[in-house]
Amino acid sequence: MTRKVNLDGIESAPRWIVMFLGAYSIVHLFVLYLWNAAGQAFSIQGTSDGTSALSVTGMAAVGLWLCLVALRSFPKGAKLRSAWVLMTIAAAAQTAWGVLAQLPGTGLTGQIRMATLIAGGPMRLAVLAAAMLAVLRILRKFGFQSRPSATDWAVSGIAGLFTLCRFGEAAMASLAGKSPGVDNWISLSGLPILCVLLFEAMLLRQSVLRMGNGLIARCWIALVWGILLTGAGELALWVIPHDLQSLPLAMFGTLFRLPIAAAFALVPAYQVAAQRRATHPAGGQPEDLPAGVPALAR
């Protein structure tokens, strides 16, 4: 049995997010293809370092709104409320960073911008790590925990190695008399937290593998993807300038940041969709959900 595809209402938010991401990525890649085909004759404009494109900020705002909707369903005393409060704070920090990072970097606005860079960077990652810890504890309570596999350790090892490389590079630059810049230091301070977050994401992935491909599981697998993409994006944006200097970095930055923002927005979107499905069941027929383990989680 299949359910009629419905794009009305808040329960269709995951579909809208995925459709927007797909359309935006296709346009983005098409422009890159044209630019390459034209022999890189014209310049491509993108956002500067440390700022966020409108699409990314918009997606973060959608994520924040959906987090607030999801949070309303967890009254005081609910076990998952603390996790959703933290997720909402993280979404708010990301949105604030997207908006306020556009401010000029001098005077009072410069200080505000710096504060939002810290809030949207290392602080947001720390808040997400705390949220994920709360989720992992609850999953463990219900028997969904499992040990990390070799792949999980490998991913965490790569993240640790990358962090060491970045710190080593910054130390070398400092010794050579070149200051890495405040933005770079803020980014560096978030890397150890990102390592912890990636390890937690791997544990969450294992727990979700034990759960399956239900609506609740999809919500948490989106969080795993958001964190994995954050790590991959950091790695790619560090590797690309070293090896592929001719590529337009700003465009690549947006190409990475939008899927990350979309993955984080999908977390509350799937949560809200599951809640709506429970409170407003559409017909008596079950949705045609694959019974096995999600392919993405695999």
């Binding site: 369903s73 219900f142 759960m211 399956g212 609506l215 079950p286 019974a291």
Partner: protein, 145 residues
């Protein structure tokens, strides 16, 4: 005590029991009662007169009730399994539905998981949905568990 009475307690335990019985009036009385009941049964004591037709009706009614409850339990179990598959996933059934788990226990555990992950309002709606049209009377304590 029954094993001692039937000479099945073994040498060591029988010796200890005999030593205790020599100084304990309560246990001696209990042993006397057991022996008396045994003797009465062996002698074929008269069984109380039974209204066979009424008793048969009671037995049949109990069987019918059990069958109905069993049908409702299997339907409840099936609905809960569908809910777990939809909201968690099929592999979650292996975790939630331990072997030998009763339908009311499954109802309680599923309700708890859904309440934690979806919130109380959604869990309540799902609980109502799963019990709709089902002749299922579960103690309130079981549901809230």
């Amino acid at each position: 005590m029954v094993a001692f009475c039937d000479a099945e307690a073994g040498a060591g335990r029988s010796r200890r029991a005999a030593k205790h019985l020599a100084k304990c009036d309560t246990c001696r009385d209990r042993l006397q009662r057991i022996r008396g009941e045994k003797d009465a049964l062996s002698a074929g004591a008269p069984i109380a007169v039974m209204d066979s037709r009424r008793d048969l009706a009671e037995v049949l009614s109990a069987i019918a009730g059990w069958r109905g409850l069993s049908g409702a339990a299997s339907e409840l179990r099936r609905r809960l399994q569908r809910q777990i598959e939809t909201y968690c996933g099929a592999p979650a059934l292996l975790v939630v539905q331990q072997p030998g788990v009763r339908a009311e226990e499954l109802l309680g555990k599923t309700g708890e998981i859904l309440e934690v992950f979806l919130g109380p309002a959604a869990a309540e709606a799902l609980s109502d949905d799963v019990l709709r049209g089902l002749d299922w009377a579960v103690p309130a304590a079981e549901i809230s568990r």
